[in-house]
Amino acid sequence: MQIPRIRDWIILSAIQMSTSLFWPTTAAAAESGGPSTVLTNIFAPETTPAKSIFDLSMFVLAITGVIFVVVGTLLVYSLVKFRGTAANDGREPAQVYGSVQIGLAWTVIPILIVVVLFIASARVIHAVQDAPKPESALEVTVIGHQFWWEYRYPALGIVTANELHIPVSDPAHPRPTFLKLLSADTDHSFWIPQLNGKTDLIPNHPNSMWMDPHRPGIFLGQCAQYCGTQHAKMLLRVSVDGPEDFDTWVRAQQQPAIQDQNVIAGKRIFETTACINCHAVSGTVANGRFGPDLTHLMSRVTIASGAAENTTENLRLWIQDPEAIKPGSLMPAMKVSDTDLDALVRYMESLR
């Protein structure tokens, strides 16, 4: 039973070496892919901290890539060159126990590589974590909840939820956004790959992070620290706005809720059922903080922290049967009659 040794190692090394193609292919595909693959790609940075991480990653990948090729080649070579054949079967090869010189060489070189990698990493760690906060910085407090995001802009008097708006930061006149990260319940993690690495939101342990996006756009992400049943649908959506758009948004958010006489019936239902225990609508009696602030609900593109689009049908479904959209979320089914539900939804849709 002759063992087909050459075929074995060819197949083996082909499979193994093809893994080395994944990394450059991935980076290339990621950067040249269509819009969908750029949305949450760590190789498409749009801020200074994300760019520093990206530059470091290229450096580290280059070094580890070289190590892989060198060691992998040695491995493949040894398999080919020193395979047992029928010719030398039965004779034992030279019984070599080791070599001090070779051992020293392959100890010293890795130590040097580690020193270089560490220095490169330490520079980025300090640059990102210890960056001073300029006067022009916008401060936003992010509070993580099971399973939604609360955003407060203390200097601007804004409280909103689930969709964050921050201004573009022109490198000539920087206006970075500094986020303070808190949690109302369990651990969460704020991760929008194009805007920065992630930082956790841990109760009793305030954290901070900053970002200075260089261009307007929509950037997506989601909670990255397992926080319970609906961790998967605690999505993030950040709108980076040009200066005029941002000011417009701020002014609109600072207004109390629109008082629309046509939806008084729905407003009355809202204010006399359990809704106001959890939700707030500025300028009304509703000031619950357990759930998202609804004052400007219709300024958002999605509801349930990104789990569904903000449409009439979804609003109905969310109020009547949240389990159908986000099973395990903490929004209770309100069990209102169909007419009441119609009125409620019309009221919600007036909160622009």
């Binding site: 893994t19 949450t40 892989f68 020193f82 051992g103 841990i202 989601q222 319970g228």
Partner: protein, 557 residues
């Protein structure tokens, strides 16, 4: 001849009632039988936890899939991780160590045979307790089931407020109980190696497997104890009004993280060091050369053990430690890669200049070398803390650690099965089924875990029961899932090989591989007393000296 003695023994016991055989196995204190019990126990849980993984992968084949509910999914990934670490990997490695260490050092049993049995039964009880949670986890609040807080059980998700019912308690108590079993095994291995080596076997002459088992055992003592302490503190929080980790009362979530990862990181070295041990025994035999650089291998292993105690917070790079702490853990994590890399070079140095035989045990070890190289490099990538701010908590990490555990540890374990199965059972495993198992598993492994790095790079976090379409993750997850199914088939081929070979395998004899350590000097399977007379050794390869009296190792050591 001891094999004749075995034939007589078997004939005498052919008419034995099965309850007597069962009683023998349940009450055994023989290290070999306890080793087999550990391995069979672990293989059972391997299939169960593998089944859990298959369900996870079916759910993740398509975005917004509805194969299981989020509640079930969260239990599945928690149970998959907990089972694989505590009731598959640890027991199976303890089983191999139990079986082989006394044989390799020329002893008749472990230092404390009854502690050995007790440790096994504690571990077994732990596994049963954990799985009882599926039916018993409801507790008084009707809100429980199997644990669903992840295998790290982070606070405050495990506090009473966020985990009512008893599911967290089953996690805590099952691991507490099996933890005592692990500590017992660690103590036993250390005492055995330090006190029961045969004459002539100085510490510098014992097989690398023994050195690595000794190191693993020291790490167990240092690593398991903080976890046990933390679990007791969690129980105090949940039932006795404590607030160690109860953030609603001023407790600290990060305190749990430190305790857990001070256990968690050395734990993965507890798992990988035995894999190194298997590879360090198999590669020399199938390269027909001694291990290259034995002293360096020993020193590197001990260095790994020490340094691994200082890296734990690289699992916490995203929690908001200050830049000095992050830098510290970055450098220690990179540092532990140095002795690890040295070991890879030494294995290549062993094959270099040899005469390599591509039998099934060696195939698995060669794959181990490639895969462990890659896994180590993705570890170095994440050691650079800023990169971990992007890659942490994503599928990149999941791919990395499965690359180590499946691509490294499990491959080495498969090699060990094919290599030592003849010694344990007296039969060879089928080479053709072995090659089929190998190639199928290589195909499935790479399909799953190579590809799995990419969703992580594209922003996919871990522990999510479903994901959004249009982020570039859809096809990748489908490929990952298909690879998982292929791996499942390969494992079934392996199990079939184990079973078929027991009855149909070729007779192995004492030394089917022409190897050099003491276990190959006794019959296959060994007699209950291991050695008729305790051997005396003069080198690291006593059987080489016997087979090559004209060129013994003892002349050069």
């Amino acid at each position: 001849m001891s094999s004749d003695a075995m034939a007589v023994q078997n004939a005498q016991i052919a008419g034995r009632p099965w309850v007597e055989t069962l009683h023998d196995w349940v009450t055994t204190v023989d290290h070999k039988r306890i080793g087999i019990l550990y391995v069979l126990y672990a293989l059972t849980f391997l299939v169960i936890a593998g089944f859990e993984a298959v369900i996870i992968r079916i759910q993740l084949m398509f975005p917004h899939n509805h194969f299981v509910s989020p509640q079930v999914f969260n239990r599945l990934f928690t149970m998959h991780g907990t089972t694989m670490i505590f009731f598959v990997a640890m027991p199976i490695l303890f089983g191999f160590a139990n079986y082989l260490v006394p044989l390799m050092i020329g002893a008749r049993d472990m230092a404390f045979p009854r502690l050995n049995a007790f440790s096994f039964w504690l571990t077994a009880l732990g596994g049963v307790l954990l799985y009882f949670s599926f039916v018993g986890g409801n507790g008084l609040y009707g809100a429980g089931n199997a644990p669903d807080a992840g295998w790290w059980a982070y606070a405050p998700l495990t506090s009473k407020a966020f985990s009512p019912g008893s599911s967290s308690d089953y996690w805590t108590i099952a691991l507490l109980v099996s933890g005592f079993g692990s500590v017992g095994t660690g103590i036993n291995i250390i005492a055995t190696i330090l006190c029961m080596r045969c004459p002539g076997m100085r510490l510098t002459r014992m097989p690398l497997f023994a050195w690595l088992s000794l190191t693993m055992s020291g790490l167990i003592l240092l690593a398991v104890t903080p976890l046990t302490a933390a679990q007791l503190m969690l129980a105090v929080d949940r039932y006795l009004g404590g607030h160690f980790f109860d953030t609603q009362a001023g407790g600290s979530a990060t305190l749990w993280m430190h305790f857990f990862w001070i256990f968690g990181h050395p734990e993965v070295y507890v798992l990988v060091i035995p894999a190194f041990a298997f590879v360090s025994e198999i590669i020399p035999v199938f390269s027909r050369k001694p291990i290259f650089g034995y002293p360096a291998m020993v020193v590197a292993t001990v260095c790994i053990a020490f340094v691994s105690m200082s890296v734990w917070a690289h699992h916490m790079f995203t929690i908001g430690m200050n830049s000095y702490a992050n830098s510290f853990f970055a450098i220690t994590t990179m540092a532990v890669g140095i002795p690890t890399g040295i070991k890879i070079f030494n294995w290549i140095g062993t094959m270099w200049g040899g005469r390599i035989q591509f039998k099934t045990p060696m195939l698995f070890c060669i794959a181990f070398l490639f895969q462990f190289l890659i896994a180590g490099l993705t570890g170095v990538i994440q050691a650079a803390a800023p990169l971990d701010w992007q890659l942490g908590l994503s599928y990149f990490v999941v791919a990395h650690f499965h690359y180590v555990i499946v691509g490294g540890i499990l491959f080495a374990l498969f090699g060990a099965f094919y290599y030592w199965y003849p010694k344990v059972t007296g039969r060879m495993m089928s080479e053709s089924l072995g090659k089929l198992h190998f190639w199928l598993f290589v195909l499935g492994f790479h399909m799953t875990f190579d590809v799995m790095h990419i969703p992580g790079l594209l922003g996919m976090p871990r522990r999510i029961y479903t994901y959004e379409p249009g982020r570039g993750w859809d096809t990748l997850n489908l490929i990952v899932s298909i690879g998982a199914f292929i791996q499942g088939v390969a494992v079934l081929v392996f199990v079939a090989n184990l079973i078929i070979s027991y009855w149909k395998g070729a007779k192995a004899g004492n030394d089917p591989w022409d190897a050099w350590t003491l276990e190959w000097s006794v019959s296959s399977p060994p007699p209950a007393y291991n050695f008729a007379s305790i051997p005396r050794v003069a080198s690291r390869r006593p059987l080489w000296d016997l087979k090559h009296p004209e060129d013994p190792d003892s002349r050069y050591e």
